[in-house]
Symmetry: C2
Subunit: 136 residues, 2 copies
C-alpha cells in the first residue's frame, strides 16, 4: 500500500536540484547522499531531505568548498560526536571568514573600478590586484 506522497524518482530529484541525474548517482557513490532502499526490485524513491542535501552540496561548492570538505560539513549535520563536530565547524568558520575578507576586498575593488570606469575614458588601471596583495 502506497501512501499518497511517498517520494519522487531520481529524475525528478535531479531536475528539482538543477543537476544531472548522473551527478546524483555520483554523489551517492561518494557517500555524500544516502542511497534509499529500493522496495524489492523496484525503483528508489527520494524525499525532500535528499533534495535539500543536494542543494546544500551545490551551494557549498559555489563557495569554493570541495566535495571532500562538503562531506565534512555534512557529517556535522549527521550528528557526529559533538566535539569533533565542533572542531570541524570552528576550522570551517575560520576558512569562511578568510574567504569573506577576501571577497569584501574584491567587492570594494570591483565597485571602485565600475565607478571609475564610468568616469574616466580609456586606460583603466584597476585596483584589483592591489586589493589582494596582503594574503598568505
Amino acid at each position: 500500500m502506497k501512501t499518497l506522497s511517498d517520494g519522487f524518482s531520481i529524475g525528478v530529484l535531479a531536475e528539482a536540484a538543477r543537476v544531472n541525474v548522473e551527478t546524483i548517482r555520483f554523489y551517492q557513490r561518494k557517500g555524500l547522499l544516502p542511497e534509499p532502499e529500493r522496495p524489492r526490485g523496484s525503483i528508489r524513491r527520494y524525499a525532500d531531505d535528499d533534495l535539500a542535501r543536494v542543494c546544500f552540496i551545490k551551494s557549498a561548492q559555489r563557495l569554493g568548498f570541495s566535495l571532500d570538505e562538503v562531506s565534512e560539513l555534512l557529517k556535522l549535520e549527521d550528528g557526529a560526536h559533538c566535539d569533533e563536530a565542533r572542531d570541524l565547524a570552528e576550522h570551517k568558520l575560520q576558512a569562511v571568514r578568510a574567504k569573506l575578507a577576501d571577497l569584501r576586498s574584491i567587492e570594494t575593488a570591483l565597485s571602485q573600478l565600475v565607478a571609475r570606469c564610468g568616469a574616466t575614458r580609456g586606460a583603466v588601471t584597476c585596483p584589483l590586484i592591489a586589493s589582494l596583495q596582503g594574503n598568505t
Copy 2:
C-alpha cells in the same frame, strides 16, 4: 651590462608565490602570465609585477573563480576597452555579492553550530542545511 636588481628566476618567483614552478609555466601557456623575453639564449627574468599577478590568481581562485574567470578579471587590469571592462566588472561584482551573501549565511550557521555545540551534548542537529535552502 646587468643592473643590480634585474629580476629573479622562475624558481624564485615560484617559491615566493608558494607555487610549483610548473604552475608558473602552466599559467604562461594559458596566457594568464606574460612570458618575459629571454635575453639571447639565456634565462627569463621576472619582476614584482609577475609575483603580484601570480598571487592574485591564487587569491581569486580561493574565492571560487576559475582560471578562465580570473583571466577575465585580469583583462580588466590590463586596460581593455573601458566599456567592456565595465560590463565585465559589473557581472563579476554581482557574482561576488552573491558569494558574499551565501558565505554570510554559512558563517552565521557555522557560528551558531559552534555555540550550540558547546552548550548541548550529543545529537547535534545543525542549522547548516537550512541556511542554504533559499538559493537558486
